[in-house]
Structures are given as C-alpha cells and as structure tokens.
Amino acid sequence: MRVSSKFGSIAGIIGVSLIVLLIAVALFGPLLGLASPTANNLMARLAPPSFNTTKGLHLFGTDQLGRDVLSRTIHGARVTLTIGATAVLLGGAIGIVIGLVAGYYGRWVDAVLMRIVDVQLSIPLSLLALLVVGTIGPSLQNLIFVLALTSWVQYARVVRGQVLVVREREYIQSAHAIGLGDVRIIFQHILPNVLSAALVIATIELARVIILEAALSFLGLGVQPPSPSWGRMLAEGRSYMSSAPWIAIFPGAAIFITALSVNLTGDWLRDLLDPKVT
C-alpha cells in the first residue's frame, strides 16, 4: 500500500510537471522565434531534423511543404490543449448540472435524464463523434461541440450517484428544514461535494478527448488545414513514412506525452481524492 502510494505520488508529480511544461510550451513556444507553422518553404521540403542552419534551423525537420515540424508541433499543443480543455469544461458544465438535477429531483426527472444517458452510452462514442462531425461538417466549433457531447454523460452519471448519497446527509436535510431554495441547496451545499469526483472524471475525459480529437483530425474531420493539429500532421506524415518519418513521429510522440501526463495526473488525483467513480 505504502510503496505503491509513494510510487503513485511520484508518478503524479511527473504527470503534473509534464502538463505544466506542455502548457508553458503552448503559451510561450511561439515566442521562441521559430519559423511560422504555416510558412511553406519549398526549398527546404522534407529536411531531416538537424542543427544545420543553411536552410533555416529545423530541429524536428520539415514536412512535405517545407514547414517547420517543431513549430507545427508547438502550435499543435496550443490547438490540442485549447480544444481538449474547452470540450472537457463544456461537457463538464453540462454533465454536472444534469447530474445535479437528476440526483436532486429524482423521480421522473431522474428517470428521463438517465434514459437519455443510457441511449447515448449505447452508441460507441467515437462513432457518435464521427456521425455528428461527418454530417454537420468539420470546424473548430463543431469539433468542440462533438467532443463535449461525448463527454457530458460520464459526469452526469457520476455526479448523480454522488448527489444521491449527499442528498441524504443531515446538513442537506436541515438546509431544507430552514427553507433554503432548491437552487441554493444544489449549488451551495451539494455542488462542492461532487466537485472532486468531477475533477477525476475531467482528467479521464481529457485524455480520451485529446486522443479522439487527434483521431478525428487524422481522418480529416477535425481541425482543418492549415491550422496545425497533431492528428492532421500524423495523417499528412503517413504518406512520407519511409522517406521522412519525423513528420509523423514527432506529433505522435506529442499526443503520447500529453495523454500519458494527463493519465498519470488522473490516477494520482483518484488515489488522492478517492471518490467512488466507478
């Protein structure tokens, strides 16, 4: 127990540090004075990673249009983290409210909302995303909307479960007794109790959403060119896999590191807060 929890907190610290690092890269990376992520340079197409500066400094090499892979990867972090965070926050806000309402009011409200959750859960999430983006068309807003749509369910389920427990506690009963309104009870007294569970769900969802975003972008249904996205870069790099593997390797590694750090943080948070998530 002791050994693994110590290991867990070290892993958690590594995870949090990596996330902080990624955010710093996303925020300040563009200030490094690298080539623009969208600047084509046909003279320097498919240049391998090197410190050689004759064709401009390309630490991660260049892609088929001569764009700097490092610069694109850094900008990709921006795009990915923004999309991921927005989608998770949006999905979280919707899911938490629905979970609170379902758990608090119970009865038919709960029954209806939970049936909707069941229906949504019976469609594979990636398929739902594919279907919706495929029909409403790929764009940044649509992407965020779809990712949020796939993630609210988990929050709603878990939050509802927690509310059912919290609702029976004495201080909630006494809040009723002194005549506080439902809205006040829900947001002031119940919400704080479900936030730690919601936070754990948020990390699980963030990792999932980031990978799903990359997958959709990979299929051409996510972030649209020329905006750099890791999934898109992977798709483009795929055709040059044998001649210029770096185009696909670096963005893939970036997805890997992001998902890993989020997972590590999530595991650690789960141990720390120990909500009954499942």
Binding site: I123, L130, I136, I211, A215, L219, L260
Partner: protein
Amino acid sequence: MSRYFLIRIGQSLLAIWGIVTIVFVVTRMLGDPAVLLLPLGTPDSQIQELRSSLGLERPMVVQYLDFLGHAVVGDFGLSYQSFRPAMEVVLERMPATAILTASSLALGAVLGAATGFAAALARGRFLEFVVMCFALAGQATPVFWLGILLVLFFAVELGWFPTGGWDGPASLVLPTMALGIFVAANITRLFRSSMIETLSEDYIRTARAKGLMPRTIFMVHAARNALIPVVTMLALLAAELLGGSAVTETVFSWPGVGRLLVQAIDSKDFPVIQAGVFLIATIFVCINFLVDLLYTLLDPRIRLGR
C-alpha cells in the same frame, strides 16, 4: 431475476429506438436531402419532383414513422455510391471487422491477463513497476500512431508483413498488434488493481488459513472474483472494436466497417451512414445486454438474486 432481464430488454429496445431517432434527426439537420442529392444548379422543378418521390413533402411525423418502420427491418434505402441496398453494403464489410476484433481481443485478453496477473503477484517489486510502465505507455499511445510505427518498422523496413489491405492472414498481424496492445494495456491495469483488491479480502485470508496451495488461492479464489470486472471491460472493448475502429482500419486500409463509414461520410452517402450507425449501435446494445447476462453467470450473487 426474470423481471430484471425484462427491464434490461426494455432498456435495450429503448436505446435502439433512441439511436434510430438520433440518426433521423442528425441526417435531417443537414438540410434537404433532395438538394444534397442533386447536382448544384438543378432547376427547382426537378428538386420538387425528387422531393415528392422521396416523400419529403409529407409531415415530419409521418416521415419519421416511415423511417422508423423501414429502419426496423434494416431498410435504409440505396447507397448513393453503389446503388445497392445500404445495409447490404455495410454487412459485407462486417466479416473483416469481426475478424480483426476477434484476433485483437484474443491477443489483448491473453497478454493483458498474463501481465496484470504477474503485476499483482509481484506487488511492490521491480517487475510490477516495469509492467505498469508498459501498461501506462500502452494506454497513452494513440492506436493509429502505433499502427503507423508498426507499418514503418515491420512492413516498410523489414518487409515481414504487408503494409495494409487484406492479403491473406499475414495482413492481420499488424492491425491485430496495434489494437491488441491497446486492449492489453487496459486489461492489465484493470486486472492488476482488481486482483490486488481481491487479494486483500477476508475470504483470501480464510483460504490461506485453510492451508490451500498458493496456486489454488490465486487461480480459484482470487482470479475468479477479480476477473468479473475484466470480463465486462473486454465485452465493452469488443463492442467498441466491432463498431469498426475507423482510424485503425484507415491506417491499415482494412476493408472493414469503420473505414467504410469514413468513406461514406466523405462522400456524403447518407443511407450507408445510417445503416452503418444503426447496425453498429444495435450490436453495441446487444453486447451490453450480453455483458449483463455474462456478469450474472460469473457472479452467483446476481445470478440467483438477492
């Protein structure tokens, strides 16, 4: 007990109905199918003609009920691409997806169970650390990236396996590895934590107090309990994979349902999209139902009812 299953069947039917409705609403959100079907600049009179022949002038409710009626028997119209029944187009891609699902689940389950078991037994030792590092890495690796790397290494560099497509059993190896590793990573972590939890139960102490051999304790007393959540997870993964792992199938040019759907979305072949989503979601619902059945078989507490 039987009441529980009646409720579950009801829920499943409700879910399928919900899916059909979602498919209907989403495709109607696109706008007028008649406009989408005909090339740009088609005269209005022609559009009107098609509208009435497609029954689009009827009230929405009637259209919806009509759609429902056809969906129930799997009739989603003709594919815009091949002009064959959409469901037929989808169904002929099913075997490829099913084979890939079966092989990667088998690989993932065996690998994941073995490593998860080993990690639980090697608690606090270096082996556990190594296994967990691999599992964490496996969980964070996007399957399609892994797929690309596998193709690069084993197909392009070494030339051991084909880069993609279906060309005999050798083509199955790389996609199976990519998906199998993903499945295994999930199973490893779940099985390990579930084993560790089970091993701390009182009845394990009882088993030890009875002087049973460690083999019996691990395999019979602990594993049987610890496997219950793993089986659920496997079935859910099966459902997810049977839905056609669109990206993996694309990476390996695998002639499965996932890739078909991506292509259909690209070419706006709505009948095929509808048929595909309906089929996959129905399979998903059925598997979820089977999971519940399986669960009750594994856990006598549920099987025999409290």
